[in-house]
Symmetry: C2
Subunit: 409 residues, 2 copies
Amino acid sequence: MPVNLPAPDPSKLFPIAGVRIGVVEAGVRKQGRKDVSVFLLDPGSSVGGVFTTNRFCAAPVQICQRNLSQGAEIRALLVNTGNANAGTGADGLERAHATCNALAQRLQIDASQVLPFSTGVIMEPLPSDRIIAALDSAIAAAHPDRWLQAAEGIMTTDSVPKAFGAQVSLGGKTVSMTGVSKGAGMIRPNMATMLGFIATDACVHPDLMQPLALALAQQSFNCVTVDGDTSTNDSLVVVATHQAGHARIDSLASPEGQALFVALLGVARQLAHAIVRDGEGATKFITVQIDGGATVQECSKVAYAIAHSPLVKTAFFASDPNLGRILAAVGYAGIADLDQSRIELFLDDVHVATRGGRNPDYQEADGQRVMRQSEIVVRVDLGRGAASHTVWTCDLSHDYVTINADYRS
Amino acid sequence: MPVNLPAPDPSKLFPIAGVRIGVVEAGVRKQGRKDVSVFLLDPGSSVGGVFTTNRFCAAPVQICQRNLSQGAEIRALLVNTGNANAGTGADGLERAHATCNALAQRLQIDASQVLPFSTGVIMEPLPSDRIIAALDSAIAAAHPDRWLQAAEGIMTTDSVPKAFGAQVSLGGKTVSMTGVSKGAGMIRPNMATMLGFIATDACVHPDLMQPLALALAQQSFNCVTVDGDTSTNDSLVVVATHQAGHARIDSLASPEGQALFVALLGVARQLAHAIVRDGEGATKFITVQIDGGATVQECSKVAYAIAHSPLVKTAFFASDPNLGRILAAVGYAGIADLDQSRIELFLDDVHVATRGGRNPDYQEADGQRVMRQSEIVVRVDLGRGAASHTVWTCDLSHDYVTINADYRS
C-alpha cells in the first residue's frame, strides 16, 4: 500500500496538443501485461532529457544521450518494461537500435529521432523481435488522451500508476502539462529517476529544454531515495510541443518562464514523491530537511546519510523513537570538522536533541506520537551556516525484503 | 543463526599473563545480564587503540582517545553494555569520568589509566551509579581465565560470544594471544569495529602498539560491513603485557615482528569475520573481492557499493542469481571514468559477465548453484590496473528488519 498516494485523477491528466500515446501488450517478459508504449510527438516539439550517472548505464540511455546531444528533432519515445537492456554489452546496443529503426521506418522518420527507454531486469537480452512485432498496433492505438494508460504501461514493481497534471495561464493562454513516472526500488536518482516523462504544450525556446529538464530533476527526482541504489536506466524527459499559442518563452528567468517552471516543478515533485510513497514496502513518507550547513553539498551528505541508514529506516518502520540512530548517521555523513555540540534535532515540532545531547525537555511520548504518523519531517540544524537541503525517503520494512528477495519480477 | 560460526573453543582461549578479567551483572539496562566487565592489566603493559571516525563519537571514545594520546600507562579497561553513552553531550562525559574515577580509586591508580567503553542504546543517560556499585564485585571476580565470560559480557544483539586465540613461537618462547569482539548491527567500521579487545603476552616496544593496532584494524575490522552504519562507539584495543620472556620486538618488519603480526592478524580477522557471520539476520557470508583497479581506494569504493546495496543483499538472501544488480552497483560506485566494456564478474568459479555483458557461456543453473551456498565469493575485475581490495559482508534478510524494528534491545 503506497503512503497517502491515491489513484491518479483522470480529470487532471490533460491531453497535450501534439502528443499521442499508444500502449500495448507485447509479452516482453510476461503475457497479459501492458509493456510497450509509444509517445508520438508532432513536428516542431522540443525535448530535454537527463539520465543516470551510473557508469553501467543501459543501452537505451546511451542512445538517448547521443540522439539528444546531436540535436535531432525528436518525434517518438519508445518505452518497454520487463527488461532493462543494461549490462548487455554490444549486443544490447544492437537490439536497442533495431527497435528504434523499426519504429522510425513505420513513422517515416530517421532512427535518430526516436528515444528508446527500457526498464526491468538487468543483464538479460532484450526481446527486440517481440517489441518490434507490437509497434504497428501501438501506433494504431495512439491517442492524446492516454496518459493514464501510459502510467500503467511503464509500471514494474509499482503498486499504482503515477500521473499528475497541471494548468497555468501564460500570456492569456491556458498551458497544460501532464507527466508520468515509474519506480519503486533501485531508487537513488542521480540526475533523474527510473523513468519520468513530462509533456507540455507551452511554447519554449528549444535551447531552454535541456536546462529546464536539469533544473526540474535537481529539485524533484534528484531529491528522493528509496534504497540508495542508483539505477542503470534512470531517465527524465521533458517535452514541449509549442501548441498553446502564447508568446514563446525565451528565458526561464522571465515572469512567464518562472510561472511555467513553478508549475512544471509541481508536477515533477508530485511524480518524484509518488515514487517514494510507492517505495518498495514503504509505510511512511519521510522528509529529511537539513538546515544550518556551510554548503548545500554537506547538507545533502547528511540528508542522504539519514535517508539511507538501514537502522534509521527500520526505526521509522517500527514507529520506534530510537532517535540516537539519526545522530549517529549525522556523525558518519562525512563532515570531517563537524562539532557535535552544535547539533539540534527535531521530529516535526518536537525538539529531540540540543547541543548534541538529549534535550532535557524531550519526552519520549512526544517522539512516539510523531513516529506513529504516516508523514514525518526530520529536521537537523548543523549550526555551521545558512545552507539547507531536503530529501524525501521512506522506511525499510519486511515488504522491501520480500519484494526484492522474490525471484525476478 | 550465525553463518558457520561455532561457539568459541575454550581450549583456544589462552589466559594472557598480566591480564585478569572480571565480569558481573550491574543491571545497566536489564536485570540478569552480565553487562559490566573490567580488564585489569599488570604494570608495564602497553596498549594501542583505534576508534570510530563518527563525529558523534561517544563520551567513552573521547576519553579513551585523550588518555591514550597523553601516553598514560593504561592499567584497566572498563566496559559496559546496555547503554552507548553517545549523543549525551556534556552530561555523558561527566558520567563516563565518574565511572573511571571510581575504578581508579579502587585500584589506587590515576583515572587517566582507565579506558572506558560503552555499547548499547544511543542518547540515553548512562546509569553510572549502577556501574560504580558493581565495581567491587567485578574486581573481586577478576581472573586470567575469563575470556569466554568477557566475550559474553560485551554482547548486545550478538547471538553468540566471539572469542579467538592463537599461539606462536618467538625466540624459543611461546607467545599467546586472545581476543574478544562484539557487534552484529550498525557495522561499517571506519578505523575499528564496535568493540574488540585483543591481548598478548608478547614483548613489543611500546611505540609499536599504536601502528600495530592501526595495521590490524585496516586489514580486519575495517574490511567488514553489515549495514553500512558506522557506530558511534567503535573501539579496538590491543594490549601487550610483555611477559612471554622472549627478546623484545623493536620493529614490526623484523622476522619476529612479522610472525607476531601475522598471528595477531589471524585473531583479528576471525573476530571481524565473526561479526559478519553473526550479522543481524545474516544467512550468508559474502567475500567481495575487487581486482584490476587503478588504486586500492577505487577498489574499496566498488567493494562497498556492492556490499551495501540492499538489492544485492536481498538477492543473496533469496539465493537469486539476479546478478545484474551487482553490475549496477559497480556502475554507481563513483568511478567517473569507468569503462563498462572492461568489466568481468565472477561468482566463485562461475564467469558471469564478460566485457560488461552477460558471458555467452554463463548458465543460470551455475549461478544458482553458487547462490545457494552459505559462503560466496564475488569477484569483479575492473580492467584498469593492478590494485585489489576485499571486504566481507552478509545478506539482508527479514530478520535484519525484525531485529532492528524491535523496540530497543
